[in-house]
Amino acid sequence: MNQKNAILIVDDDPRNIFALKMVLKARGFDCETATNFEDAHKILISNHNVKLVLMDMMMPDIDGYESISKLKSSEEFKNLPIIAVTAQAMIVIKRNV
C-alpha cells in the first residue's frame, strides 16, 4: 500500500504548489508539498518514496539555491534528482544554477 514513487514540490507560494500538483496528479504522480526548506527536509527524511524534487528558486529565508546545495552536500540526499523551478530565464541567472 502506498509504495508508489512520489514527487516533492517545494514552493513558498501555495498557488504554484496547487497548479503544479494538479498537473502532476492528473498524470498519475503522487505529490508531497512543502512551503520551505525546513519542512521539505522533514518530509524527505521520513518519506523514502520521494524520488524527485521540484524546487522553487525564489523563496524567503533559505532560497532554492541554498536548499539545493544543502541537499547535495548531505550524504543522504546527494544523489536525489532536483529540478529547479523558476520564471527567471535570463542567461546571467542561468549560470548561477
Binding site: M1, N2, Q3, A6, P14, E32, T33, A34, T35, D39, K42, I43, I45, S46, N47, H48, N49
Partner: protein
C-alpha cells in the same frame, strides 16, 4: 460581578458579517451562544463599555483583530485527554497505520500542541516515527508558536502523566521532557517530524491526503452547516481506509459521512470504508 450582555444578538450578526467581509475570517456559522459568551467576555476583560466601541476597535485596529481571534477561538487542551481514546489509537489504529511506507497524520485545530506531542509519543513508541509526518494546524498563529516550543507548566505534568498511564502508556513519562524550574520542555525529537502551519478549517482547502485526521473539540463550536462543510473537507483529505478521530461530544452520525464510515470500538474514531 453581574453578567451583562454588552453585545446582543443583532449586534453579533452585524459584527461577524463585518469581520468576515473586511478580514476574511468567517465566524458567521459558529454556534451563536458560545461566540456571544466569548465576545461578551472580551468586552469585560478589555473594558469596552459598548458594542460600538468594540466594533470600532476591531474594524480599525488590525493588531486588535488577532487578540479578538485568539479569544473567540477556544484554546483548551490536554495531553492524552480521554485516555480510553488514546488507548484505542495505540492498540487498534496506530499498528494499522504501520503497514504504509509513509504515514501522514493531520491534527486540525491543534491549539497549543498538547495533542501533537501525545501523538508523536505514540508513533515513537510504536517505532513508526521515522516514516511519519504529523501536520499540526490551527487558525491562530499565536498558539502555534507555543506548540512549536513545546514548553508547558510543570503543574500540568501530574495530570498528563496520569492520563498517559491510563491510556496504557508503559514508559516513564518524564523521559519525554526536561524540567526547568516551573516549566517543562518536551524533547526535540518529538517535533522533528511535525510540520506546524496555519490553516483555517472554514475557508481553506484540503492540502494533502492523510491516513489519520484528528480534530477534537473544534466542531462543537460550529453549527450544522459549517460542520458539514468541515466533514467534507476531512473526507476529501482522507485516503480510502483512513481514520477520522473527533472529540468525545462530536459525531459524524448526522452527516453524509455516516454512510461510508464505520465506527471503531465505540470510541469517536471512524474508518473510511471506501
Amino acid at each position: 460581578m453581574i453578567a451583562i450582555d454588552i453585545v446582543g444578538d443583532e449586534d453579533l450578526e452585524l459584527l461577524l458579517e463585518e469581520v468576515a467581509s473586511v478580514y476574511g475570517y468567517d465566524f458567521t456559522d459558529y454556534s451563536k451562544a458560545s461566540i456571544k459568551r466569548r465576545i461578551n467576555r472580551i468586552c469585560l476583560i478589555d473594558k469596552h463599555k459598548s458594542f460600538t466601541e468594540l466594533r470600532y476597535k476591531i474594524l480599525n485596529d488590525q493588531s486588535y483583530l488577532s487578540r479578538f481571534i485568539e479569544e473567540v477561538t477556544v484554546n483548551v487542551t490536554e495531553m492524552f485527554r480521554d485516555p480510553t481514546f488514546y488507548k484505542t489509537l495505540k492498540e487498534k489504529i496506530i499498528p494499522q497505520l504501520g503497514v504504509n511506507s509513509f504515514i501522514k497524520v493531520w491534527i486540525a485545530g491543534c491549539s497549543t500542541g498538547e495533542e501533537v506531542y501525545s501523538i508523536s509519543i505514540l508513533l515513537h513508541e510504536a517505532k513508526l516515527a521515522h516514516k511519519a509526518i504529523i501536520y499540526a494546524t490551527d487558525i491562530n498563529p499565536t498558539v502555534l508558536e507555543t506548540a512549536k516550543k513545546g514548553i508547558y507548566p510543570i503543574s500540568q505534568m501530574k495530570l498528563y502523566t496520569e492520563n498517559y498511564q491510563n491510556s496504557n502508556g508503559t514508559e516513564d513519562f518524564s523521559t519525554y521532557y526536561s524540567a526547568n524550574y516551573d516549566h517543562v520542555k518536551f524533547k526535540e525529537y518529538l517535533r522533528k517530524n511535525v510540520i506546524f502551519s496555519t490553516h483555517n478549517l472554514v475557508s481553506d482547502r484540503s492540502f494533502n491526503e492523510f491516513q489519520l485526521v484528528i480534530c477534537r473539540n473544534v466542531l462543537i463550536y460550529f453549527d450544522k452547516i459549517l460542520q458539514d462543510k468541515v466533514f467534507n473537507l476531512f473526507d476529501g483529505s482522507l485516503e480510502s481506509l483512513g481514520y477520522l478521530a473527533l472529540g468525545s461530544k462530536e459525531t459524524i452520525r448526522f452527516s453524509d459521512l455516516n454512510l461510508t464510515y464505520k465506527q471503531i470500538n465505540k470510541e469517536k474514531i471512524w474508518k473510511k470504508t471506501r
